[in-house]
């Protein structure tokens, strides 16, 4: 289905916002201003945006430790996100979450997660909640998306979640982002099904899709088909494997010695979802280069604003340690 100019502009802006958010964090982390562990989503933007552009606030997502892209794509506030990663009291989670645990329940974003594979069962719970709530006036169910990487596809929790979703016909979608590395180990070694994750999900008894995760339009089309299927009461879950790439290490500071010679440069050249998007829409004369350049400028400014706002945002005080507890001893 052809996307109109507004939809294309919005989708590209979301992808570019994530890209610049992550590129900027990559720089800022090296100055030591940001504390803790950070796992960047750079390179995988087409997946988060291609999935989330279809969703409403009734739909839920459960994210991973590489969650910034999912959060932004689901509508989390850019300044609130950046402030959270800066550890500010004004952050989305008041500085309690940091990079790995950002959540925004009102937006249907049920949390990034520091534990690989922990998200899938939570997504099934959210999907069961949607099933209880029943279809809307058009007869469609809200869905819950569980994002997982190729690392999480080896966790027992993910298997349990897939089986539970199938037997309860929960409107869940398991989105596997295969970026070819679980931490520092290659998918060809770590995933016994010869790098084929979708076939595992299929073996649990659900319909599966596969698509190029660096092609926004492939992701977006695939998700439309999946959502048309999963939103029908009684159909149950589905899964998809997106073949994608990450442009940074597992964590910031990862020396990436596991990469081949020139691999990253090649991926940035040939597998960059933003470059592919630009080539596609300008080639089809849907948007012009100057349209895209304007979005780039706008996204960069938004990130610059977020960083400046984070630098001057209120810091938590020692007494905030005891906020949001039911008892202290």
């Amino acid at each position: 289905m052809q996307l109109n100019r507004d939809a294309l502009t919005r989708a590209y802006r979301q992808m570019k916002l994530i890209r610049e958010f992550e590129e900027r964090l990559h720089e800022e982390i090296q100055t030591g201003e940001i504390a803790g562990f950070t796992h960047l989503y750079c390179g995988q933007e087409a997946v988060a945006v291609g999935v989330c552009e279809h969703l409403t606030e009734r739909d839920k997502i459960v994210s991973t430790h590489r969650g910034h892209g999912h959060c932004l794509a689901k509508g989390c506030d850019v300044d609130g996100m950046m402030k959270e990663i800066w550890g500010s009291l004004e952050g989305l989670c008041n500085g309690k979450a940091g990079s790995m645990h950002i959540a925004d329940i009102d937006k249907g974003m049920l949390g990034a997660n520091g534990i690989v594979g922990a998200g899938a069962p939570i997504a099934v719970g959210a999907a069961l909640s949607n099933k209880i709530d029943g279809p809307d006036a058009e007869g469609k169910l809200a869905v819950a998306i569980g994002f997982s990487g190729d690392g999480a596809c080896n966790q027992g929790t993910t298997f349990e979640a897939m089986n539970l979703a199938v037997v309860t016909k929960a409107p869940a979608i398991f989105v596997f982002e295969n970026n070819h590395y679980s931490e520092h180990t290659g998918v060809d070694y770590a995933v016994g099904t010869a790098g084929d994750i979708a076939s595992r999900a299929e073996a649990f008894g659900m319909k599966v899709w596969r698509a190029d995760g660096t092609d926004f339009f492939a992701v977006h089309d695939c998700m439309r088909e999946m959502l048309d299927y999963v939103r029908v009461p009684g159909n149950g879950p589905a899964a998809v494997e997106f073949d994608t790439e990450r442009f940074f290490g597992h964590f910031e500071g990862d020396p990436q010695r596991y990469r081949g010679e020139g691999e990253l440069e090649r991926l940035r050249e040939t597998r960059d979802c933003l470059k592919k998007f630009r080539a596609s829409v300008t080639g089809a004369k849907l948007l012009s280069d100057s349209d895209i350049d304007a979005i780039d400028t706008d996204a960069l400014a938004a990130i610059e604003n977020a960083v400046q706002a984070s630098r001057s945002a209120a810091r938590p005080k020692p007494e905030n340690v005891l906020d949001n507890v039911y008892i202290s001893y």
């Binding site: 989305l92 959540a103 329940i105 009102d106 922990a118 719970g125 069961l128 209880i132 949001n324 001893y329």
Partner: protein, 337 residues
């Protein structure tokens, strides 16, 4: 008031809360019992009879019979709670907590705090626990000592049918995650339960099960009955004991314990958990640090030995605390000069 068994108090309370609030959802292994068999749904109705009839009344969307998948049950409870439901999940034996610890400890317990207070997590995790059935090392343990140490969880240990009702109802209505620890050996215990469908017991308030001025006995769960029996026996000899039923391991009613010890000056703590890092050591430390001047004798702790739960009848009996062991500890603390 109506006389009923502990297990029936639990089932009735869940039933009433499901009727009152459509957000209350039950899930767990065999909570329906018989799904996918010739016998059909409710052929079993839950192995503890704590969910019998719920499926017939509320249907498959709200009474979710799950595969044997503790991590998925626990995680789904977390997801349901984040999405606005009030799940009551059953982990068939508390011993299975090891299979799903991450979803309880790293997820459910932490959502509210980790998300900066932007979410609640009203999940109740029911875990039948404890020894007494010769069910051996992997089906007989208590687990309150682990979950009490986890910030974010409320931990309830009802010792009788009325408390099972009032505490469970409070747990279901509570906005925080609650680990509800039913003692398996108490399921057949009979007692009077209030009829009031809004009867709740606020969390963090201990119950004075016996009153006396010589020794304070602190207990929870099945240990309360042992302490009461010991106190009744000791009363024959003119020894008066306060028996404090904690009801909730967290929040802990520190005041009830400290107030009693200030009067008696002697403390016996009874705990079904092995001797290290359990409720007994926790309460001993509390009293040593906050009521040191009141103590007239060393604190006595009655616990099983530092072993797994053994199988044979003689061994399990030797393993568990008993009224006689509690009474002996009381006498020992009184003999100290």
């Amino acid at each position: 008031m109506a006389k009923m068994m502990y297990r029936d108090a639990i089932r009735n309370t869940i039933f009433q809360e499901m009727q009152r609030d459509s957000r209350v959802v039950v899930l767990g292994e065999d909570v329906v019992g018989g799904m996918g068999t010739a016998g059909g749904p409710e052929a079993i109705g839950g192995i503890w009879s704590t969910s019998t009839g719920l499926y017939d009344a509320f249907g498959p969307d709200r009474v979710i019979d799950t595969p044997i998948s503790e991590s998925a049950i626990m995680g789904a409870a977390g997801g349901l709670a984040l999405a606005g439901k009030r799940p009551v999940a059953e982990i068939m034996f508390a011993d299975f907590i090891g299979v799903c610890m991450d979803q309880l400890w790293n997820q459910i317990a932490k959502f509210r705090y980790m998300f900066g207070g932007k979410s609640i997590c009203p999940a109740v995790i029911r875990m039948p626990m404890g020894a007494g059935y010769n069910a051996a090392a992997q089906h007989s343990q208590v687990i309150h000592q682990f979950v009490t140490g986890m910030p974010g969880l409320k931990v309830l240990m009802p010792s009788n049918p009325a408390d099972a009702c009032g505490l469970l109802r409070q747990a279901i209505r509570d906005d925080d995650p609650v680990v509800f620890l039913e003692h398996k050996f108490l399921y057949a215990m009979s007692g009077e339960v209030p009829d009031d469908p809004d009867f709740v017991i606020p969390l963090g308030h201990a119950r004075l099960a016996r009153a006396g001025e010589d020794v304070t006995i602190v207990a929870s769960g099945m240990m309360v009955g042992y302490a009461e029996t010991a106190a009744d026996d000791l009363a024959q000899d003119g020894i008066g004991c306060d028996v404090i039923d904690l009801r909730t391991a967290s929040p802990l009613d520190e005041e009830a314990i400290l107030d009693s010890v200030e009067v008696t000056g002697r403390l016996v703590v009874v705990d079904e958990a092995p001797p290290r890092c359990n409720l007994a050591t926790d309460i001993a430390a509390l009293v040593a640090s906050k009521a040191f001047a009141s103590l007239k004798a060393p604190i006595e702790m009655v616990t099983p030995p530092h072993t797994p739960v053994p199988f044979a009848r003689e061994l399990e009996s030797a393993y568990l605390p008993s009224p006689a062991k509690v009474a002996a500890a009381v006498r020992k603390t009184l003999e100290y000069r």
